[in-house]
Symmetry: D2
């Protein structure tokens, strides 16, 4: 039984961790914190979560006795906390963006923060289990991927060699439910009357998940931004609670057969617990993945064979955040990868 601490357990990702860990057979939440609710009982704040008799502790509590700590706090707070936790010998899964990018200059540009622990950037393992399974197994620090990055990378990387044939910028037109855009932050952006019956793009050409997708696409495939151009990511805000659907536009130097695309995705999906590829002619919707750790993918090509549209669907709070974090925990502690996940 692994002993868990959750720093920031009352935000959207933290609450989802509590919900999912409630049905995990080998994890025991020993300690949970919240600056907003410290001193309150979990059941009073979240009556729908049964089985937690604890009280929210302050964020800066000592985590001695925990084997693993999940950080579900803002980037700056993660930056400050991680070095101490590692020194204490605790393993860490960080759900913030603090340790995902290798280049601290790029980090500063997109996060508007200077990086106070750059010496850990090399060590941190990017927690996308489909591509970093063995590194995750032994990691001290896992940087859990961003939600847009997860949906985009799983819709792109299985194409493998084909990504070397791209001759234009991959375009990722992504649409997220409100919880993927920071739903508990109390600002105009997320209040009901601003979001309901509304839809909009935001952070065009400037979202912080763009360099994350860019970096791992370059690391893990023959895609080259020099040849094809940098990826373009346009996030949008959907009037619904959960889920990210990414519509990805690719253009190949020469025609690609749809059976080649189909074959690569199918082969990849067969080897993975949580990735599913739909048959030719079918595209996923959000409902297929909401409340599960699945990523579902479909693809269509046009008559020329040079244009391809890929659609990827995930639940931003599960595969895009807390579910993936638990998948990472399962690998780190030798449990079944699917333990506690749907």
């Amino acid at each position: 039984m692994v002993r868990i601490g959750i720093i920031g357990a009352a935000g959207l990702s933290g609450r989802e961790l509590l919900y999912l860990l409630g049905s995990h057979d080998e994890a025991s939440v020993e300690l949970l914190t919240s600056s907003k609710y410290q001193g309150k009982k979990v059941n009073d704040v979240f009556p729908e979560l049964t089985g937690y008799n604890q009280v929210f502790q302050p964020n800066d509590i000592d985590v001695t006795g925990c084997d693993l700590v999940f950080l579900a706090i803002p980037n700056q707070a993660s930056l400050e906390r991680v070095p101490n936790l590692l020194e204490q010998g605790v393993r860490v899964i960080d759900l913030s963006g603090a340790f995902r990018l290798r280049d601290k200059e790029v980090f500063s540009k997109f996060y508007k923060l200077s990086h106070s622990a750059p010496e850990l950037l090399e060590e941190a393992v990017f927690g996308l289990p489909e591509y970093f399974k063995s590194e995750i197994t032994t990691a001290r620090l896992v940087a859990n991927p961003g939600c847009y990055a997860t949906g985009a990378l799983l819709g792109l990387l299985p194409l493998g060699e084909l990504l070397g044939k791209l001759d234009r910028s991959p375009i990722i037109d992504a649409k997220s439910g409100v919880s993927g855009a920071g739903g508990r932050v109390e600002d105009d952006v997320t209040i009901f009357v601003s979001v309901n019956e509304n839809f909009k793009a935001y952070k065009v050409f400037s979202h912080q998940h763009q360099p994350e997708i860019q970096q791992y696409l370059q690391d893990l495939s023959p895609y080259s931004s020099d040849v094809a151009g940098e990826i373009i990511l346009t996030p949008h805000l959907l009037p619904l609670s959960r889920g990210i659907l990414s519509t990805i536009y690719l253009h190949f130097r020469e025609p690609v057969t749809s059976s080649d695309i189909l074959q690569r995705f199918s082969t990849f999906a067969e080897s993975q617990e949580f990735v599913h590829f739909l048959e030719e002619g079918d595209l996923p919707d959000l409902r297929m993945t909401v409340h599960s750790n699945r990523c579902m993918i479909g693809a269509e090509t046009d008559q020329s064979g040079q244009n391809c549209v890929i659609v990827s669907s995930i639940d931003n709070l599960v595969k895009g955040a807390s579910g993936q974090a638990i998948q990472n925990m399962n690998l780190m502690f030798g449990f079944d990868e699917k333990q506690g996940l749907l």
Copy 2:
């Protein structure tokens, strides 16, 4: 052309006033204020409102030159502002709850505020045009009714003499869209992920519109709380932007014919611009009134004739707030009651 000032023009009611006044032929908005947006142009804050070239002024601006001021600010702020405005000779329509109740003790109990201008409570005219038309015409200070009160009173008062036959507490089970529950207030209650796919009751036995309904029901009908008991109001929060549907339960001492009920409502509706009564067997939904100043009403009785269910539908931002305020303005300045309203 009446010269208008709007204090608090960027809240939900204030913005609705701007929207509606944009197509009013005889009103000119001379001055508008917002503490949050002061110094910003209306078009930058609300690009969907065309035709306003002004800049938001601070709330405490001098209103000299205005014939009429709408107050769309919190109760305490209205309490403080109204006496000065009246002294200046400006007529006022107050959309807050500050001057709706006659009894300052009841006000204190439900609003948790002490009343600093009780001398105006007798003079203030309750701005329900269907019942106070002539008083409104000459009023200096109109207290625009609460949204729940408007829906409930128009669903009850047309019954006239029948209200003297009630032998049980009228029960008003009311359901409001988010804008009726303070949609721009940035708290957990109104953020998207709390409201979406959710529904709940709030302020059971304690909502501040209960005494407002109670007072005018007693003033304007033979209903007596001594005989029938005080009215019971239960507000609920719907996951939608606009509209209040009130389901009203009545029990009569002796059977009442549905044709009697039908007749009373129909006769009343015929004499009113904005009240519609549906034929027997039909009940209104919210869609019938959203974005209009209408109140639509339907009624059903059971086999015994003693139980009656009345359903009333309004748009809380129009007939329940800003539309009704403009209807009051039309009466105060001798315009067609329907000018600028749908």
Copy 3:
């Protein structure tokens, strides 16, 4: 391992059964039918349901080999099918309303159908496990309760002796998500543009769950309709997918202390796996029960002690239909009552 057949597995309740049984350790779905999708693979119709390799069979398929059949088909179809299934020696859980009422005249009046198997009405066990646990254990035929009836009865019956002190009709103002009002039926009532941003009452004084609540309230408590009047049920349609919130109005002949009410609900809840009662001052919302088999209840009394408002929340597709059906299955086959349920 109990061998399951599901007749009508592609409707909303049928699909929910498939979803829930997917994580049940002791049930194996051997056979599933759909008139609409017969011949299609489950995964093609519901890609989000993993683990079903079967093809939908025609509804009239022979169920030999099944230990238990769930019927998730219309009332008339259940009426016709149940006698044959019982003759074959198969146990049945019927999710329709065909066998819930004891009186075939009342059935005809509310369901507009004549009852073709009245001899089974006495034998059928009402599948509300909180009150009929031992009868369910040995039942051949379980009539799974209606969704409105489940929410209302669990909000009323725990009051026990206090129900003998009612002197007015209990009023149940119930609000359901679209799936509780027949969401897959392709008519105007359930298309998106009719429901979205809308709200309305329906079947006032005539909903078929009214006699179901009436009957079991009389059977299981000292409530008497002669003294207090028949219960009044008003269903409403919420613009959301799942959940029923019932606001229940009670009036007692003499004052009742809130601690008495609290005590009765708390004691009851402690003895039940799926019923939770909130502390004084708290009322449940829909989010607390969606996707779980829980019923959550809260209550408030007014100053007089004679008026009481009870709010009960369930997921209409889980505790109000398929989850409760699995709870009944667990009792019928000796499994842990919570097996496969959250």
Copy 4:
């Protein structure tokens, strides 16, 4: 006063025509039809529409006496009806897609219909007033544009000469509310439980508005599909009632300054009643155009100046259908272009 007939007045576009014409000072609806509701009174079907005392007539009624007929019926029905109406000397605004494309082969391919009146394709005027004002003035037959086409063309055409510098396929990632995807059609696609909390792409590489955009982009600008490739249109279904937001991706052969883009859109917008261009850095959301005939546009370029994202927002039922039809009527009959429109 122009005498109007509306064939198909009870569908979504037809009902919106009724709503909008209700406040038009110079149009009188003489005749309205519906196959579904023939014989019923308008007010019984749409109680929220006041001022219509008529009864729905059968679709094949004689329109003698009308000056103008709006057709809001399916493509096949329009194809059959238009020739007769023109022979009768009635002017026609057709809201279907029957007469928008010039090439009957392309029509057949995308609409899966053979064109029975090809002789009218040359005469029909494409009802995009911003580009065909003078032709519309004298037209006998106006083909009202498709909703996706309106949003896309107004987001592209103002770029003028810059469209000759495109070197890649323009990509239009469009997101529509349910009414834009055929909201009253009673199929699974539009029922509430399929759409709510869901999102998906549909008709990838095959939507019938793609050739409409392609044709007028080529006609009215230096864009060449030989150089840049055919436009790519991906429609998506949003869980909301009204509105289309189009995110348009352009790539220029050489860098373009954002001030050049800004200048072209601003100049165009100044000359148009219903087109608005936001300041640099601002992008429109859906709320800015819902219930109005406006099209609002914003644009951003990346650092290289070669990639540009344009966002265009319209209400699919107003500027994308019935509002634009009334704008066309205003031009055809010499009224103020804004009469009856917001």
